[in-house]
Symmetry: C2
Subunit: 231 residues, 2 copies
C-alpha cells in the first residue's frame, strides 16, 4: 500500500500552535472532559505547556472555530459539543480542492444516494411523497437551465431530508456546491449528459409502491449519465 501524505507527518511543519492544539485535544480525551466542563484558563495552560499566552490563544481559537470551546460569561471557557462539519464546511471551495478530490466527492454522492434507500423506506411518510410530487409538478412549468439546477437540488435534497438523519442531510447540503461545480465542469467539456431512463417521477412511484432494492437500482440508473463520465 502506497504511503499517503496524510498518514505520516512532516516534522518540521509543526508550529508551536499545532503542538499546543494537540496537547489540548489529548488532555480532553485523557481526562474525559465532557461538554459543559470548565477548562483551565489561558494563563494556566500557558504555564503548563510552557509557551506564551499568544500560542495558547491561537490553539484555543482553533478549537473555538470547531465549536469545541465556548466562552461563558462568569464561568470562563467550557468544552462544548462541536459542530461536526464546521471545519469541513470551510474548506469546501471547488477552486482550492484538487480535481481528483472533487471527483471523489462526486462519487461519494452516488454512493450516498443509492445507499439511502433503506432509510427512505423505513421513514417515508405520505406527506413526504406529496412534497416530492409537488416538486416535480413545479418543474414541469419551467424549463430554464437555472431552474433545472434548483429543481435537482430540491428533489434530491428532499430525499436526504426524508431519512430523518440530520447529520447525513447536512453533509449533503455542504457537498451540493461541489456536485454542481463538477456537473457544470463536465458539461463544459462534454456537453449536457443524456437524460436518464429513470426520471424523478419513476423514483417517486417506486417510493410509493416498490421496494428498497428497486429504488437502489433505479437511483443507480437515474445517476448513471453522470456516473458513466467519471469512471
Amino acid at each position: 500500500m502506497a504511503l499517503k501524505s496524510h498518514q505520516i507527518e512532516k516534522i518540521q511543519s509543526l508550529t508551536m500552535a499545532d503542538i499546543a492544539e494537540r496537547r489540548l485535544l489529548d488532555y480532553f480525551k485523557k481526562n474525559a472532559v465532557k461538554p459543559g466542563d470548565a477548562i483551565p484558563k489561558e494563563m494556566e495552560l500557558a504555564e503548563a505547556l510552557d509557551v506564551s499566552r499568544n500560542v495558547v490563544r491561537e490553539a484555543l481559537s482553533r478549537l473555538k472555530m470547531l465549536g469545541m470551546i465556548e466562552s461563558k460569561k462568569k464561568r470562563g471557557m467550557v468544552l462544548s459539543e462541536p459542530d461536526i462539519f464546521g471545519g469541513f464546511e470551510r474548506v469546501l471551495d471547488p477552486l482550492i480542492l484538487k480535481q481528483q478530490t472533487l471527483h471523489e466527492l462526486f462519487e461519494l454522492r452516488m454512493v450516498l444516494e443509492t445507499g439511502l434507500a433503506d432509510l427512505l423506506f423505513l421513514r417515508k411518510s405520505d406527506a413526504d411523497i406529496l412534497e416530492l410530487e409537488k416538486i416535480i409538478k413545479k418543474s414541469k412549468k419551467q424549463d430554464t437551465a437555472s431552474f433545472k439546477v434548483k429543481h435537482e437540488i430540491a428533489f434530491h435534497g428532499k430525499l436526504y431530508e426524508m431519512t430523518g438523519n440530520a447529520t447525513i442531510t447536512r453533509f449533503q447540503t455542504l457537498l451540493l456546491p461541489i456536485f454542481e461545480y463538477v456537473v457544470a465542469e463536465e458539461e463544459k467539456l462534454h456537453g449536457v449528459p443524456p437524460v436518464s431512463d429513470v426520471r424523478h417521477s419513476d423514483l417517486v412511484e417506486i417510493l410509493k409502491s416498490g421496494t428498497p432494492q428497486e429504488f437502489k437500482e433505479a437511483m443507480r440508473i437515474h445517476l448513471s449519465p453522470h456516473f458513466d463520465r467519471l469512471t
Copy 2:
C-alpha cells in the same frame, strides 16, 4: 421545517477572530485565490481589516489548522490545498458528541456500505479478492473479542480501499472509532447482537460471481443486526 441551530447564527457569539476568519475566506473566494498564490502579510491584513495583528494571527492560525494556508520560506504565506477532513478528524471524539449524532453517523455507515457496491464491481481486482479471502482465513484461527473487532475493521476497511476512492476511504477511517464506540455501547445495553445470515465469506462470493444488486442486498442483511437496533 424546524429551524436548526446551525442554520442561523447567534450574533453576539461572534468574536473578532470569527469575523476576520470569514473575511479572509470571502476574500479568497471573491478573488479566486488558488493554491500556490501568495496571500497578503499579517500586517497588511490587520490594516485592511482594521483589527490588531493578534486577531489576524488567530484567524490565520485557524486556516493553517485546516491546511488552507502554508508558510513558505522566503515566499511568506501561500494558499494551499486543504486537508478536506482535517477539522472533521479533530471533533470526532465519541465523548463530546451527542448520542443522537453518534447514531446518525452509524446510520451513515450503513448508507455508505450498501452504496459502495457499484464502485466495488467497477474496480475490484483479483488481488483484492485474494486479500479479502486472506483476511477471512486469518479470522478463523482466532476468536477473542478484540480480534473480532480487528477483523471487522480489516475486512470492511479493505472494501472501502477497493473503491479506489481515497476521499471515501479516509472518511471511513475517521469514522471507525465512532462505529466501534456505538457497537460497544449497544452491546453494553442489549448484549452481543445475533450473527447475521450473511457472512463475510458470502459477501466475497458475491463479489466473485454475483452482481452489484445482490451485493447491496447482502450487505444490508449483513449489517442488519446493528441496523435493527437503531431504528
